[in-house]
Symmetry: C2
Subunit: 324 residues, 2 copies
């Protein structure tokens, strides 16, 4: 049995509207057990009319909610009965929990994890997994957890990325460093130092990569400090959205309504939308954390539980430990 | 008459194949005069069969070429007869030159400009102009000329951006700072300081912007140090390309060849392709410089001459001086 702790609160949508995501995940994975953290009365009321394997779902009563508007540290300190804090405490106390899933506030998640979970690497990092047009999966580390780190940390980010790629079946991931030019000498002070460190390591480092080549090149792990990685990730998302919306308008203007085409366009867009893909992970703590977007739907919750299940099932933590 | 110096060498394509871009620009703008810098014999041979107003084109013999593979400083020092160096010397010696255009190496262009041209601001910056899906133009400053600058420089970048937007008719441009979150407190040390500086200035500063909102938000000038700006710019380009190529494949697979659709998709893509749009400018020297992509075609050369003409015609240098 793979046990996952799910923090169902803190997203834009109310917890009950997200519950079908949990039920569908239980339906898909017969070996999944969920600790569902939220307002017990509310969740029980919603669950009472649903069909699911009651043996594999346990509600943890944690009615307090931490929102995006609160100061992370103060909120985590004050709200001991929040689904975030109680969920992470469960991860800490139970050694057999395989992963933690949340759609709540990113800052609070990071602060609470730092306070409650044991670190297995020096700088846990936010990793986002995406797909290239050719269908190949790749990841970006760090996507925003470490915005003022030292160049040495990029080696840790690379190792976390390698461990993740191994869980999805890529045995010798190619690592590239995000820079403002592909040549070795290109970059700011940070990337020039990081380049030398990665080059001197035993990693499969293939050099610098520009933003324009991330989706078309052959790198499996894009390494960056958190600021650049965040710009990269969000710009991919925003650009895909802009191009798709303009295309739909343009097709409509020139060819009229054409629902078949809209479906094709939407399908392509979804592949670049990390909010529905849900592949944002905070890795480097004893428990891997999968972070859904605040605008999560039941489908997002289903996806992130599925990703968390797969991470735990493929031993991502052992793989990270092996890389260090 | 608007006089533009054109460095026709240093692009991936040979100079003669690009010459139609110059001729078409002369054809379009009756008030355009071009100093064409390159190998005189080669250019004369190519031009001999063409129809154009010979009164408005003068060849400057500068047969040496500086390539992307050379060390910028050494190449600029050694190649006094290069089209880049001779072209910039012409800008320096003739007070009535309105702009300089090149498709050559970026590094050499920057070094040569620093050596040969008078600066009118402390840190000249690379500005790229793009369009949003709604057709509105916006710009990103700096896109890579200043990768390790101080936060104070972002105010200069903003003023350069404001001056540029005024040349395209936006009277009160809205300025946003690229960051890893929209909230005021988000960012790394650099952006937090830059945020405070921009907030305290008399600029029309609307706050931080994430990569996901650049194409959909209402900012006219995106300000960043050169590293983040470069990641942003190139990721927009690469993502648009990836989404479009995947869409074309997907449409083909599901609906068969459909040339009408391909044309629509291509037209949308071109709007995100700053290499064909050609809107990269190095601003802050006495002469504005428009930089075409190394993979320039005759169409690119036409576009960048047209942009240079428009910059000179709209007094971009006076507008920059007015902002400082």
């Amino acid at each position: 049995m793979i046990k996952i702790v799910v923090d169902i609160q803190g997203a834009d949508s109310a917890a009950p509207t997200l519950i079908d995501g949990v039920i569908n995940a239980l339906e898909k994975n017969a070996e999944l057990f969920v600790y569902l953290c939220g307002d017990k009365a509310e969740l029980e009321a919603e669950l009472s009319g649903k069909r699911y394997d009651t043996e594999r779902l346990q509600i943890i009563d944690a009615p307090q909610v931490i929102t995006n508007d609160e100061k992370p540290l103060a909120a985590v300190m004050a709200k001991k009965n929040s689904s975030l804090v109680k969920g992470l405490e469960l991860c800490k106390s139970k050694s057999d929990v395989g992963a933690f899933v949340t759609c709540g506030a990113t800052g609070a998640m990071f602060v609470a994890a730092m306070m409650l979970l044991e670190k297995i690497v020096k700088s846990p990092a936010l990793l986002c997994a995406l797909k290239k047009p050719n269908g190949a999966q790749f990841c970006i580390v760090d996507c925003g957890a470490n915005v003022d780190c030292r160049p040495e940390r990029t080696e840790d980010f690379a190792r976390i990325g390698v461990a993740y790629m191994k869980t999805v079946g890529v045995q010798l991931p190619r690592i590239a460093l995000l820079s403002n030019g592909a040549e070795d000498a290109k970059g700011n002070k940070f990337t020039k130092q990081a380049h030398d460190i990665l080059r001197a390591s035993d990693l499969n480092f293939i050099g610098n990569i520009e933003g324009s080549d991330v989706l078309s090149g052959n790198a499996d792990v894009i390494v960056s400090e958190g600021f650049g990685g965040n710009v990269l990730l969000k710009t991919i998302e925003g650009s895909a959205k802009a191009v798709v919306s303009e295309l739909k308008e343009s097709i409509k203007a020139k060819m009229g309504d054409y629902s078949e085409l809209d479906e094709i366009v939407d399908a392509v867009y979804r592949e670049y939308d990390y909010t529905t893909q849900g592949g944002a992970m905070l890795l480097g703590f004893k428990t891997p954390i999968v972070k859904g977007h605040g605008a999560a739907t039941a489908e997002t919750v289903y996806n992130i539980i599925d990703i968390a299940y797969s991470l735990a099932n493929n031993g991502v933590m052992e793989k990270i430990q092996n890389e260090f």
